[in-house]
């Protein structure tokens, strides 16, 4: 069939391209921050009688998460066509719009994560806080650290999953319109958060703790990715057509195929390396070689998380119902 169309818009023809690198960076940073919040909350829950040194990640994690979220929000603000109209997002709440949920959730999570970080600062690290007001607030919030950890755990889960819900709500984009996508995004967020926790933590015990968590998260991420593609293959024609770019390796789609190959290499390799890291019960301080290996596997997980979001955002815009 030969088709001629008079009156196409460049934004939607030959395919949609409304969201680019700014949105990809936000999705990655948002997921990373969400994962980091969850991991720092888990660290807090797991430490019943913490030595103060072990608490370091508990407060650094949320501070980093807060900073990462602020940077991520900057990138999503860059994407807006009317940047200085952003306040309209906070003059209403649209219950059917995941973007509205996320706007409000970010506005709540950023300050709460900062407060959590302040509440978790142990006495030996209070000198880290430059201003007296921060030290006072930290002391006042310290009795509430467990409650704030619970709040941040919930907010982290929400931030990690809502972006997947947002994309999956677009019936017009078959690649995104999958109920597995929010699960994939949440899993990836937790996995990248655990990977960053491995890099950030100074103590061997904390590094190994998050390595064990990350092993399970990477394993489940691989399974979810396979189910994501299978689900589309087993679905209607539009869904099946939407995954072709990942498996065609022709000129137009070579980058998507390359992305999926990279993920297929990075995640399993990171999994194997991390399994070696916890193979023996390590009680001594890690050697430089072991630390480097941990950081390499964690970096692979971070790269894999970024590539997944990059590929899904761009490939989703190639897909359509007509």
């Amino acid at each position: 069939m030969e088709t001629t169309i008079t009156g196409t818009n460049a934004l939607t023809y030959p395919h949609l391209h409304v969201w680019g690198w700014e949105v990809v960076i936000y999705l990655f940073l948002g997921g990373l921050a969400a994962g980091l919040l969850v991991m720092s909350a888990i660290a807090n829950f797991s430490m019943r009688k913490p030595e103060e040194k072990d608490q370091a990640f508990c407060f650094k994690g949320p501070f980093f998460a807060c900073l990462i979220l602020v940077i991520g929000v900057f990138f999503i603000w860059l994407d807006l066509g009317r940047k200085f109209n952003f306040f309209w997002l906070y003059l209403s709440f649209e219950p059917l719009s995941p973007m509205s949920w996320g706007s409000w959730a970010l506005a709540i999570t950023i300050p709460i994560s900062g407060l959590y970080g302040l509440s978790a600062v142990p006495d030996t690290y209070k000198g880290w806080l430059k201003f007296d007001i921060l030290k006072k607030v930290s002391a006042k919030l310290n009795p509430f650290v467990r409650k704030l950890a619970v709040m941040n755990f919930g907010l982290g889960i929400f931030i990690g999953i809502y972006t997947g819900v947002l994309l999956s709500a677009f019936v017009a984009r078959p690649l995104w319109n999958s109920s597995i996508l929010p699960v994939l995004f949440l899993n990836s967020a937790l996995s990248t958060g655990a990977a960053l926790a491995i890099i950030m933590a100074k103590r061997t015990s904390v590094k190994l703790y998050f390595t064990k968590i990350d092993i399970w998260l990477i394993f489940s991420e691989i399974v979810i990715i396979l189910l994501f593609f299978y689900g589309h293959y087993a679905s209607a024609a539009a869904q099946r057509k939407s995954i072709i770019p990942f498996f065609s390796f022709n000129g137009d789609h070579i980058l998507y195929g390359t992305a999926i190959l990279m993920v297929a290499i990075l995640l399993p390799l990171a999994l194997v390396i991390e399994m070696f890291d916890v193979k023996d019960d390590i009680v001594h301080d890690l050697t430089k070689k072991q630390i480097s290996r941990m950081k390499v596997s964690a970096a692979m997980v971070l790269a894999g998380g970024f590539i997944i979001r990059l590929a899904i955002v761009y490939a989703g815009q190639l897909s359509g119902l007509s």
């Binding site: 088709t3 023809y13 949609l16 066509g81 017009a172």
Partner: protein, 180 residues
Amino acid sequence: MPKYAMVIDQRRCVACMACVVSCKQENDVPAEHFRTRVVENVAGEFPKLSMELRSELCNHCDNPPCVDNCPTGASYKKEDGTVQIDRDKCVGCKACVAACPYDARYMDPEKGFADKCTFCEHRIKEGKQPACVATCIGKSRIFGDLSNPESTVSKLLREHEASVLISEAGTRPRVFYIKG
């Protein structure tokens, strides 16, 4: 309260593109952007060819995904059934553009808000037809009130079999196509 809808009688379309031009002129649509378009599909092998001429525009759906996904309420459905945009509230997030299965929306390149066919709301208020309907030389586009059983659109939908675009999306469009 009226329930506005459009019927496109594809038997009468000659793909003159007058609707595309008149819409652009009436609504001051920015250069290189369009609120309506004409699709020409030619199938088969010469000399056994078939041709479909189909004009497309915003379908002003009864279940509009663009409205659901708008985070500020800038996109909204009026009581008369048309889907409109409050430009003041639009932040330019482009969620509505991504949500539309019909690729009916665009972003104003200078001012950054989302925009689309309004069924010429300003003309309807004055009792006129949308610009594309008024200019159509083949009388292919018919606009009217579905709540009035004697309106042309109501009669056409009673007398002919009509279809909508991408019905599987569940959007319940208000633009109906008569092919035969």
